[in-house]
């Protein structure tokens, strides 16, 4: 087992190197520079923009810039943002809590809806409940989050005036009020993201359950006289969850990566909004760090999913 994990980690190194190289080259080849805002300001001589480019090494050849970046990264130095001149790791750590809170809650909400609904729908396929659940699921994943987000804002903030639509990180309250306010402002973004995720996940859980529920061993379990709940939870679900676990594990990096659109709509200071504003301002070190961390997380969670298989289904052996 530990040998297997170690081997997988070793294989990950060249693939991560490859990913970083591709990311860096694509970013370096992308046109534009972080100081374009200075261009039309008559108070800033053009030499300033040129000097900044030279100072931040933007005029060096790409391979040199990549080697510098790689070397610094190996020493644990993530570089600094061209735009805020702040260390990239502090910048990311600052954004992480909001992302984890909002996206994490949305994932939990999605699971809480998808698993019970998917399982129940599968036990009674083509019943009225199943039909309704299916319809809602189709509606749910056909509506993009930017649409539902704005719809929610118009209904709950503008018309009803119940919920705030600007997410603030400094709530001026303590104790229970703080918690309540935190929950209040997260309701809309969590609902938007959670329902979107739940929709597709419900369909997935349902079909995974249906695959298993018709197998012979389930009939055997029923013939033994086990109760419906026992059969579903202990016999069917455990096997049906294997593909679901893969799906969830692969979505975990997204929890850290943030949700670009939703974060932008609700002004959540998460990783997603950091990424998009950095891309727009050509802030290479930040984009590089965020995407690279993302790549590492995808590799890591793939590994975790594989290890979890072994636990869910002992027939799968890891070598």
């Amino acid at each position: 087992m530990s040998q297997y994990v170690l081997r997988r980690l070793m294989i990950a190194i060249p693939s991560l190197l490859g990913i970083s190289l591709v990311l860096f080259v694509v970013l370096a080849l992308a046109p534009g520079d972080p100081f374009s805002e200075l261009a039309t300001n008559p108070n800033v001589p053009p030499e300033v923009q040129q000097a900044l480019r030279a100072r931040f090494g933007l005029d060096d050849p790409i391979y040199l810039r990549y080697l510098h970046w790689l070397n610094a990264m190996l020493h644990g130095d993530w570089g600094f943002s061209f735009v805020s001149r702040m260390n990239v790791d502090t910048l990311i750590l600052q954004r992480l809590p909001a992302t984890l809170y909002v996206i994490g809650s949305a994932q939990i909400l999605a699971l809480l809806i998808a698993i019970p609904v998917g399982v129940y729908a599968a036990t009674k396929p083509y019943s009225l409940f199943d039909q309704i659940a299916n319809t809602l699921a189709f509606v749910g994943f056909s509506l993009p989050t930017f649409f539902t987000g704005i719809l929610f804002i118009l209904i709950f903030s503008v018309t009803l005036d119940w919920l705030p639509f600007v997410y603030t990180t400094d709530i001026k309250a303590t104790g229970i009020h703080y918690v309540l306010e935190m929950i209040r402002q997260a309701i809309m973004p969590v609902a938007v993201l959670g329902l979107f995720q739940a929709a597709s996940m419900t369909r997935f859980v349902r079909s995974a359950m249906l695959d298993v529920i018709r197998l012979d061993y389930v009939t055997t379990a029923r013939a033994k006289g086990l109760g419906q709940a026992n059969v579903i939870v202990k016999h069917v679900m455990r096997n049906a969850m294997i593909p679901v676990v893969t799906l969830i594990a692969l979505q975990m990096p997204a929890v850290f990566g943030g949700a670009i659109v939703t974060e932008q709509i609700f002004r959540i200071p998460g990783i997603g909004s950091l990424l998009i504003s950095s891309i727009l301002s050509n802030d290479t070190p930040v984009v590089m760090a965020v995407t690279f961390v993302f790549a590492c997380l995808v590799v890591l969670f793939n590994l975790i999913a594989d290890v979890l298989y072994g636990w869910l289904d002992p027939r799968i052996s890891l070598r």
Partner: protein, 596 residues
């Protein structure tokens, strides 16, 4: 400043020290007509009573929180590194300059005890020195006194190339020396009639020497106070998250009486302009939102029965179409739009004039900019003393056609006009931005009617405005026939604004397209006028020179002004912000208050 000198002359007329006829003769001597001279007198007379912005609150604090919404949040809080206005605005909550620009484009003392003038000995007659006096008793937020050493240090800091400060422009070509603890003398290399650039406005904010002295030059990035400002402003720093949030609390030791009004301040970043307008005007979650680049129609709809309204500040920002005087399609020594070429069709003045006739400024204003724009024929639109009355514009497809016919541009088989085998086909480029694409469409439509074929091209803003030498799509390379964007006027003096088109500033491969004269227009009269204005100390003659520059550009149709753009902000109905089109939004923050 300049205005004041003009005023003192106007004052002389008023008080009878100078006779009215002499005044008009003096203006006539520099080419200004008598009506214009009279107008200058009138403008001077009206604005003579300088009204400081009304500020009713009678005690400090007690105004609750002030919540600002910037849809692009500040990313750093050192005014010397502030790349965009968002960063300048964020730094300005804590740092202050010696003086800021008020709504009329006049200087308003902040840290200075008084505005230098010839009368008080602050300015020399040769326009080579300025003496600034600090207000006594001003303290940094950490309790240390503000002294002349801090001012000298700011000059050293910004002008050191190793610091890589974006504020280096205003601090170049001058030296700053300390006279006593509260007084400095600025000595310019050349006579500088516009002396109020260093230590004034957004890039004039002063940082404390005792916290930044160790981080001058190459180590500038490492200063811990880049992220934790200690300034002199009305609010003290509490918290900063780049791109997301800046928070401050009231400075109880603030150096102006009864100010500030609010107990705390919060500047939230992120999102987009429309939802920011909504949060201020419709739901009232925030008090003030910046830079409402939103269609007027949308704003009008939000304002109906809302909790806030839009505010407009008049400055000199100009949205215009520039014309390429060189040929973008011929390569000479590896350079397109080279100075060695001439544009095959646009070099004909009739074609340029016809294009100007085809820009329907009224429709553009009505359909796109609404209250946020003013149609204009001038490139230079402010302050009032510098605005030419000699120009005019009109939209007329018929006249454009007549003009082209007369010049020999006849419609070919495909309906496109041509002469000597050269067709009137233009590439019209701009940056990607809703209003700009709509303007492009309006212009293209009119051009089609007149037999001019226009191909539209839009480039991502971060590319269009980049200084990337390898990229062919930047505005300064201008590999198109005409292009459109906005040039802001960051201060109420046309010097920098007009100098751009001097022939020594031509954008070429040799200077890596850093030259600011991107239309590559060369005019000796213009050069002479700009050079003369640069050192002209007589404010009236200087104004006349800039008016002449503007008129030369108009006669030659170097640019086609599309819209004189106003700054648009959204504020709650009770907030009374002090805004100026000549300053950033937070530049007069100390004067903000709430009514009712």
């Amino acid at each position: 400043m300049l205005d004041k000198e003009l005023r003192s002359m106007i004052g002389d007329v008023k008080d009878g020290r100078m006779d009215r006829r002499a005044f008009i003769q003096r203006l006539a001597a520099v080419g200004l007509t008598a009506p214009l001279a009279n107008q200058i007198l009138a403008i001077g007379g009206v604005a003579m009573a300088q009204s400081p912005s009304p500020y009713p609150p009678t005690k400090r604090g007690g105004g609750g929180p002030l919540k600002l919404l910037w849809w692009q949040g500040p990313t750093l809080l050192n005014p010397h590194f502030a790349t965009g206005t968002k960063d300048q605005d964020g730094s300005r909550l804590f740092y202050e300059p010696l003086a800021s620009w008020d709504v009329d484009g006049h200087l308003n003392p902040i840290l200075a005890a008084e505005i230098p003038s010839i009368k008080n000995g602050g300015l020399s007659a040769d326009a080579k020195t300025v003496i600034w006096k600090l207000k006594p008793g001003v303290k940094w937020h950490d309790g240390k006194p503000v002294t002349a050493d801090d001012l000298v240090f700011n000059w050293e800091y910004a002008s050191d190339p190793a610091t890589a400060a974006v504020s280096s422009g205003p601090y170049s070509d001058l030296t700053v020396e300390k006279i006593d603890d509260l007084t400095i003398r600025i000595t310019f290399k050349n006579p500088t009639p516009f002396w109020a650039n260093a230590f004034v406005g957004a890039y004039g904010c002063i940082i404390p020497k005792h916290l930044f002295a160790e981080y001058k030059g190459g180590k500038s990035r490492e200063a811990p106070n880049n992220l934790k400002p200690v300034g002199t402003g009305p609010y003290k720093f509490v918290e900063f998250k780049p791109g997301d949030l800046v928070r401050g609390e009231i400075n109880l030791d603030y150096h102006m009486a009864n100010r500030p009004f609010f107990d705390s301040i919060e500047m939230k970043g992120g999102g987009d302009a429309v939802s920011a307008a909504r949060a201020v005007i419709q739901t009232g979650e925030y008090d003030f939102a910046w830079n409402m680049q939103v269609e007027d129609e949308v704003l009008l709809r939000l304002e109906k029965g809302g909790k806030g309204k839009t505010l407009y500040a008049v400055g000199g920002d100009i949205e215009f179409i520039a014309i390429n005087f060189t040929d973008p399609n011929t390569e000479v020594d590896g350079e397109r739009s080279s100075l060695k070429t001439k544009h095959p069709t646009l070099s004909d003045p009739a074609v340029r004039q016809a294009l100007a006739l085809l820009v329907d400024r009224d429709s553009i204003k009505k359909a796109i900019y609404g209250r946020a724009g003013r149609a204009t024929a001038n490139y230079l639109n402010g302050p009032d003393d510098f605005v030419s009355k000699n120009t005019k514009w009109e939209f007329s497809v018929e006249k454009a056609i007549a003009l082209l016919e007369k010049a020999g541009w006849k419609a070919g088989a495909d309906g496109i006009r041509e002469k000597d085998g050269k067709k009137l086909k233009f590439v019209y480029q701009t940056s990607i931005n809703g209003p700009r694409q709509k303007t492009q469409a309006i212009v293209k439509q009119a051009c089609q009617k007149a037999g001019i074929d226009v191909e539209l091209k839009s480039v991502v803003a971060s590319v269009f405005f980049s200084s990337d030498v390898a990229n062919p799509d930047t505005y300064s390379k201008f590999y198109a026939d005409i292009e459109m964007f906005q040039i802001p006027m960051t201060q109420p003096d046309p010097g920098l604004h007009m100098r751009r088109y001097h022939s020594r500033n031509l954008a070429t491969k040799e200077n890596k397209w850093q030259g600011q004269n991107f239309p590559r227009w060369v005019n000796k009269d213009f050069d002479a006028a700009v050079d003369a204005a640069d050192t002209e100390t007589d404010p009236v003659k200087r104004a006349a020179l800039y008016i002449k520059c503007n008129d030369l550009m108009w006669q030659d149709t170097v640019v086609i002004p599309v819209m004189h753009r106003l700054a648009v902000e959204a504020a709650s109905n009770t907030l009374r912000p002090a805004l100026s089109g000549w300053a950033n939004q937070t530049d007069n923050l100390q004067d903000w208050y709430r009514e009712g």
